[in-house]
């Protein structure tokens, strides 16, 4: 019904926009701001393709409203490295040949990016391949069979924990 004005910091840029309250955060990013890296694979919270960071925590952008981001910070795949560059998480996934069609990819990158940040901050992260698989269970990939994604995540997290001290394993 009546639109709301919201101010959201997306990838460091402050955006002010008038949105319908019913508009999802995903649609706001994709269609209002034209940031189409965030994908929609199910729109009911299962596939994880729409994962973004909201104030640093991984969330489903299909299960949040744009108005929920008012006054908050959102990070999408477009914002984790300079244009034309890759973040170490992306490089690790590239080297492991993680993905095929790429539709799930932004969601995995953001989930692993969130884990990697925790690891670097010494907050602990999954270490074993089994733990990594469990931590990634909220992201569905139909193409890859996951093995090469786990390879890439393992490499990225190992590199990140190597650079952090006092980190612990978290379930």
């Amino acid at each position: 019904m009546s639109d709301r004005e919201i101010t959201v910091t997306v990838n460091g840029t402050v955006h002010t926009a008038l949105v319908e309250p019913r508009r999802t955060l995903a649609d706001f990013l994709r269609h209002t701001l034209g940031l189409t890296a965030t994908h929609l694979g199910c729109e009911h919270g299962v596939c994880g393709a729409c994962t973004v960071l909201l104030d640093g925590e991984a969330v489903r952008s299909c299960l949040a409203l744009a108005v929920h981001a008012d006054g908050h910070e959102v990070t999408t795949v477009e914002g984790i490295a300079e244009p034309g560059q890759m973040h170490p998480v992306q490089t690790a996934l590239w080297e492991s040949g993680a993905f095929q069609c790429g539709f799930c990819t932004p969601g995995f990158v953001m989930t692993i990016y969130g884990m990697e940040r925790d690891a670097r901050a010494g907050r602990g992260c999954p270490r074993s391949r089994t733990e990594i698989r469990e931590e990634l269970s909220g992201n569905i990939c139909r193409c890859s069979g996951y093995q090469a994604i786990v390879d890439g995540a393992e490499a990225a997290l190992t590199a990140a924990t190597g650079s952090a001290s006092g980190s612990e394993t978290r379930r």
Partner: protein, 783 residues
């Protein structure tokens, strides 16, 4: 890898080029396409499986702000032609239908009306105001119902609801059974499951009133086929129709066919003179996008006392759903029928099939659409082993045809040549120790644990042979590649393949770069756009690319390379056979000072042909076709270990081993990805996924909360061993995309049966292997 990589690209683990845009979120999937002033479409869909439409009130929807048009089925029929996706296959009753339903709806999810609006939110608001009155008809859900006497008829043109029935007969089947020491019988009801790529179907249709050109950017595996079919159904001259594809978020067979939604969207765009987008949401995709498998097979095997096969007698009934898609049902039953005897000696064979139409969504292709043949056959091999008292390894060893005994005839009556299933199986048996496995199982049982082990082997047309496809009645067409050396010496190649995860932009560039002596980054692969690529009926599918597109790229590159060498031979005053191209420089072997850069030569050919050598072909662009020679086969053998929780019925796949042979490997990372992804899909299909219908014809798995695809913890680590049998063809590579999905269900079910056998449990003959069914088979709970 960077442009410094020159030579030796084929076979190397080159990082995929497409990953740069995929990983950075710069891909262009269908919902990312924003043409100027694009409007959004939303389909209103049937809520009943079978009903007459008695009324359709769209007035309130039309009046809504933001709604541009609401088109009903009858209105759509005025500017589209009836759709018929039949093929000239004897006995095929392929019904015609309209883009939007007119008169009768035949499955839950059938499109009934189209809403065009400013955005998807508004379109869905308007859709909720549309009132459709239905007079329910009796739904026909199972094939038993469809084929029963007096069953409701779905279509006048399909008597008895039989879309097609077929037969294959080779050898003297009656004699085989008369001679048999044992007759072993089995049955399988394979449930419906589906492709569910992470991106559903969709497209953006843009009609340019000034030129009359309709451009359809679509998520499809087959752009030329889409163009040909849609143009015909919407009365658009084909030369004024262009189909474009960009990134595709997976397909697995779903996006092989053209669908009625494509026709409706393009027709509406033309009718309204606008740009229209339709993006299938997940509920639509699961409900209306069609689903796969859903077939019932019975099999009798005639065997000798030592386990030697004498013959198979098989009947297959396919639940076709209501409306045909591409490819037609007999192509699927035909491939299944011809592949079923497998890589074994089968002296006599009889296969009958019936495709019956029902009030379900269409039966669509799914990664190795014929795969049920492998599942049924490989389970049968284990049953035979048990009956005659030999191991599952031995029964296969006794019946497999080694490559050294080929060419020979397959059980289904065509030439087998270069099939190395036996060799993959031999390698697999070297890698496992069956006695040790049995000892471990006994130990586990003593601890109260139940551990099963299963194997399987198969071969598949990847791409198959002209003879084989002739029997199926489907074209085995040559694969064209257009290739151009640009004025600066870089290379642009146009493939008719439409990658959606297979990495063709990388693998074909590897092949061409090696052939042309240029760097990987100097080659660009263009795909999808029918304005740029060469016409062929089939884009990507049927594990064709490994051999056919590779061959096309090689033939085109060699043709242009020969011209380049001819021109350079004149310039360098040498014989072409003494020349080499390295790092984009043509030089005389052994005399590096005598050289000309490819860029200079190309610039000369385009800009100053008069100053170039005369009497040689200066055209650096060619379209070449690779005929596929005698084709080839993919094959592999799998071993699967499971542990079954006898209290909860949960099956854990604890180890999985693959030996595969797709010939020469162009990029190991790509091949491994295809194998592992395929196996994950096959395991998920058997353990978790179910595109289930209720007895009332309602669809029960319309969200990912109910349609369960495996996530990372459900998929085991997969170990892969490669054999690289090189057939005496120009292209040593063959396809690899489908085999994992074809064989994994068989290896898994054999492992589960093996576990069940240790505790005298029953067998599951109706998939999927839910925990409930596992406990029923174990006798823990009642049916």
């Amino acid at each position: 890898m960077s442009s410094s990589v020159v030579g030796g690209l084929v076979g190397a683990r080159i990082k995929r080029r497409e990953d740069v845009r995929i990983l950075t979120g710069a891909g262009r999937y269908i919902d990312d396409v924003h043409e100027r002033n694009t409007l959004t479409c939303h389909f209103v869909r049937s809520t009943l499986p079978h009903a007459r439409i008695s009324g359709c009130d769209v007035a309130a929807a039309r009046e809504m702000e933001g709604v541009v048009a609401v088109i009903t089925g009858d209105e759509m029929a005025q500017f589209t032609n009836p759709i018929n996706l039949g093929a000239p296959i004897p006995g095929l009753n392929s019904p015609s239908f309209t883009a939007l339903a007119t008169g009768t709806v035949r499955y839950v999810g059938e499109p009934v009306a189209l809403v065009v609006a400013s955005d998807r939110y508004v379109a869905e608001d308007a859709a909720s105001l549309i009132e459709i009155d239905y007079d329910p008809l009796e739904p026909v859900v199972s094939t038993t119902q469809a084929l029963a006497d007096g069953a409701p008829q779905l279509f006048d043109e399909v008597p008895g609801n039989v879309i097609h029935s077929g037969e294959i007969a080779v050898g003297d089947i009656d004699a085989a059974f008369a001679e048999a020491d044992h007759v072993v019988t089995d049955r399988l009801d394979q449930h419906r499951w589906t492709c569910a790529p992470m991106e559903g179907r969709g497209g953006v249709a843009t009609y340019d009133r000034s030129t009359g050109v309709l451009t359809y950017e679509a998520s499809t595996q087959t752009s030329h086929l889409m163009r040909l079919l849609v143009a015909g159904f919407i009365n658009q001259p084909i030369h004024l129709m262009r189909v474009v594809t960009s990134d595709i978020g997976g397909s697995f067979g779903l996006k092989f066919s053209m669908y009625r939604e494509d026709v409706a969207l393009c027709a509406a765009a033309k009718h309204l003179g606008v740009s229209l987008k339709w993006v299938e949401d997940r509920n639509e995709n699961l409900t209306a996008g069609g689903s796969a498998r859903d077939e019932t097979l019975t099999i009798d095997a005639a065997v000798k006392a030592d386990g030697t096969l004498l013959g198979f007698r098989v009947n297959m009934v396919m639940n076709h759903g209501a409306y045909p898609v591409m490819p037609p049902a007999p192509v699927v039953t035909g491939i299944a029928g011809h592949m079923l005897p497998g890589p074994y000696r089968v002296p006599a064979y009889r296969f009958t099939s019936t495709a019956a139409c029902t009030n379900k969504a269409s039966y669509i292709s799914l990664r190795g659409p014929w795969a049920v043949e492998t599942l049924v056959r490989e389970r049968m091999m284990d049953l035979i082993a048990k009956r005659v008292g030999i191991s599952p390894v031995e029964v296969r060893q006794r019946n497999l045809i080694p490559v050294t005994e080929q060419p020979t005839m397959s059980g289904a009556g065509f030439t087998l040549d270069g099939v190395t299933a036996a060799e993959t199986f031999a390698r697999l048996t070297e890698m496992i120790d069956l006695d040790e496995i049995r000892a471990q199982q006994e130990k586990a049982r003593a601890e109260g644990r139940l551990v099963g082990f299963g194997v399987g082997t198969f071969y598949e047309p990847a791409p198959g042979t002209p003879e084989f496809w002739g029997l199926i009645g489907f074209p085995f067409s040559a694969e064209p590649v257009r290739l151009r050396v640009e004025p600066d010496g870089h290379i642009t190649a146009f493939t008719t393949q439409i990658p959606h995860g297979q990495g063709h932009e990388t693998t074909l560039a590897q092949v061409i770069a090696d052939e042309m002596g240029v760097a990987f980054d100097d080659v660009r692969i263009v795909f999808g756009d029918t304005d740029a690529t060469v016409f062929t009926m089939i884009g990507t599918g049927g594990s064709k690319a490994g051999m056919m597109a590779t061959g096309g790229a090689m033939v085109a590159a060699r043709e242009v390379r020969a011209r380049v060498l001819d021109i350079a031979a004149h310039m360098l005053e040498a014989s072409p056979s003494d020349l080499q191209i390295e790092n984009s420089v043509i030089s005389v072997k052994g005399a590096p000072g005598s050289a000309v850069p490819l860029a200079d030569l190309a610039m000369g050919c385009y800009m100053a042909p008069g100053m170039m050598p005369q009497g040689v072909d200066l055209n650096l662009e060619t379209t070449a076709h690779y005929d596929g020679e005698n084709g080839g086969w993919g094959q592999g053998s799998h071993a699967c270990w499971v542990e079954i929780d006898q209290e909860t019925g949960k099956i854990a796949v604890t180890r999985y081993l693959v030996v595969e042979d797709c010939g020469k490997i162009i990029n190991p990372a790509v091949v491994d990805g295809q194998v592992i992804g395929g196996i994950a899909m096959g395991l998920g299909g058997m353990l978790l996924e179910h595109a289930a219908y209720g007895e009332d014809g309602q669809y029960l798995a319309g969200t990912f909360m109910d349609y369960l695809m495996p996530s990372a913890p459900e998929v085991p680590e997969i170990e892969i061993e490669h054999l690289e049998y090189q057939a005496p063809t120009m292209v040593g590579s063959r396809g690899v995309g489908e085999g994992g999905t074809v064989l994994a269900p068989a290896a898994l079910l054999n492992a589960v049966d093996d576990a069940f056998g240790q505790v005298e449990a029953g067998r599951i003959t109706a998939t999927p292997l839910t925990p409930t069914k596992v406990l029923q088979a174990l006798g823990v709970i009642e049916d």
